[in-house]
């Protein structure tokens, strides 16, 4: 019994201690691969804010598959800012929970995307299967690792990049693209729910010949887990991924954190913020910083989702809704 009592007492004292610290805090709900980026960025912003206003700010992070994270915000996770993998997920928060206006993407420069990325291939050292371009992924005997487009933002970019590639081949059509993507997914042995899960599957568990990944995620994996084990292949044609950011209006107005949250996102666009993004292998939109880091980003030709698919709303409806093209090809398998 005394053990229970002491546990209770400990719990009570911890509770009391927890509620005492009430400084200004922000919650940034983000997607999977930004963990390291925001760890650095939050520290830099806290320093900047302290110097500018004298206030101490603590930024809390939550990470997961972008679709899952958007769902949590809709269900009441009180995010001051969302920094997700694609615009559609923030659109869902706007349309399903009405936490921010529908035109949120117009409020910050560059489609509210302070950094961009693209989809590349991570292969095992020496590239034993000779993977150079998208066409190599559908060859028999090539095992491709990608997360599930239903839950992962990165996976949706992967899917759309493959589709866009097939569409832009000589004689390309929707039917041919569908066929190509179906063949590609027939080569996928495991669908993880988030980008980080897929990276772990490929890198740690050693499954698959090629991982379709965010450029930044691929570089990070190589850096963290061994440049002697993996190589990055940037295909000549890929998609321009724009992971957007936004303040969640209802939450910041309720918590009185609007000024802080807006300053936080704007700081992403400053040279300091851009430099941090570039250091974490996100493509900066600032020209000067971009030039400085130019050699770490291979010069692939990038198409946008607006050019090929007419925006996220259309792409989502046609491809990823229940009964959409992805369901058709994945079930047909």
């Amino acid at each position: 019994m005394s053990r229970i009592l002491s546990t209770l007492l400990a719990a009570a004292s911890l509770l009391a201690a927890g509620s005492a610290a009430a400084d200004s805090t922000l919650l940034n709900v983000s997607y999977d691969p930004t963990r390291e980026l925001y760890q650095d960025f939050n520290a830099a912003f806290a320093k900047h804010w302290k110097a500018k206003t004298g206030e101490t700010v603590t930024i809390k992070q939550s990470h997961g598959g972008a679709g899952k994270q958007a769902r949590a915000v809709i269900d009441g996770l009180e995010a001051d800012v969302v920094t997700l993998a694609l615009a559609y997920d923030i659109d869902a928060i706007a349309s399903k929970a009405k936490l921010l206006p529908a035109d949120w993407q117009k409020r910050l420069p560059h489609n509210a995307s302070p950094y961009t990325s693209t989809i590349v291939f991570l292969v095992r050292k020496g590239n034993p299967k000779g993977i150079k371009d998208w066409a190599d992924l559908v060859k028999p005997g090539v095992a491709v690792i990608t997360p599930n487009p239903k839950t992962s933002g990165g996976a949706r970019w992967n899917y759309l990049a493959a589709w866009g590639y097939a569409l832009r081949q000589p004689g390309g059509s929707d039917a041919k693209a569908k066929d190509f993507v179906a063949k590609l997914f027939a080569n996928v042995p495991v669908l993880d729910s988030g980008a980080r899960g897929s990276t772990t599957t490929f890198v740690e568990r050693g499954l698959g010949d090629v991982l379709l990944a965010w450029e930044n995620e691929a570089y990070l994996a190589v850096k963290e887990l061994g440049p002697d084990k993996f190589e990055i292949v940037t295909p000549p044609l890929s998609i321009l991924a724009e992971p957007p950011v936004s303040v969640v209006d209802k939450v910041v107005d309720k918590r009185g954190t609007r000024k802080l949250a807006e300053a936080y996102l704007q700081y992403l666009y400053t040279p300091e913020g851009q430099e941090i993004a570039a250091r974490h292998y996100y493509r900066p939109i600032d020209k000067a910083i971009g030039a400085k880091y130019a050699k770490q980003f291979a010069g692939a030709k990038l198409f946008t989702i607006d050019e090929v698919f007419g925006g996220w709303q259309k792409a989502q409806k046609a491809h990823f809704e229940d009964g959409g093209v992805f369901d058709q090809i994945y079930q047909a398998k």
């Binding site: 911890l14 509770l15 919650l27 269900d75 009441g76 996770l77 899960g197 772990t200």
Partner: protein, 298 residues
Amino acid sequence: MAATVSLHVPSVGIAVRSAATTEPAWVRRTLIGLALAFLTLFLFVPLATVFYEALKKGVDVYLNALIEPDALSAIKLTLIAAGIAVPANLVFGVAAAWAIAKFEFRGKSLLITLIDLPCAGSPVIAGLIYVLIFGAQGWCGPWLQAHDVKIVFAVPGIVLATIFVTFPFVARELIPLMQAQGSDEEEAAIVLGASGWQTLWRVTLPNVKWGLLYGVILCNARAMGEFGAVSVVSGHIRGMTNTLPLHVEILYNEYAFAAAFAVASILALLALVTLAAKTFVEWHYGHERQAAKQESSA
């Protein structure tokens, strides 16, 4: 009453069994060897791996992983969740077992079924239920938001989910024991003029104290180790709503393997302590059960 319950007392008849064994020695040895190999492969090796991986990069890395603020906050939250869930289920478990074992009433089998419900369903569903009820889009969501009460994606949700999944442990342990003991002693106490409370404190509880402790230990182990249900209601905010098991997952996903195993080793240590406590209690508990058995058969 007691006759309707079958009790599984393990120690009866060991002497008889050895005489009745006719298998040759090599069969017995092979079976024992197989069992041991299986245990080694699936229990001891993973357990040793946890500690090996945790300490691989040195004691400094190990300790730093444990005193890092997010880890401390995860430990704190796990203690809070268990600190609330275990006493809550202790009170509920005793009350339910007492009602079920000592009284006859309508809907008794329904109550027993309900107690088992958390064991029958997947923990993920348990978590989802709370999101559907208390989430912003759920039944109580708008009211809760209007009154600024946070349940899911905050500490109360984690506590609720923990209580739900650990619900059956205490009650399930006590019901068979109390049923075997019957209500003779309670009846005697009442006849001698004891009040209901006095009967509970002086007769019923002392009779089941080891069984109760056993249930509490199991309940605590599950409360601290729960992943699925808690993951759904957590929101994964670092330093705020991550419990130990969730923190392990985060560290692992961030390529901080040594740190992940360091935190996992706390959970493994907890398991070992639980095991030791369980063995100790079982030893006493066996006596309690046997006493109940002898009494009921006498």
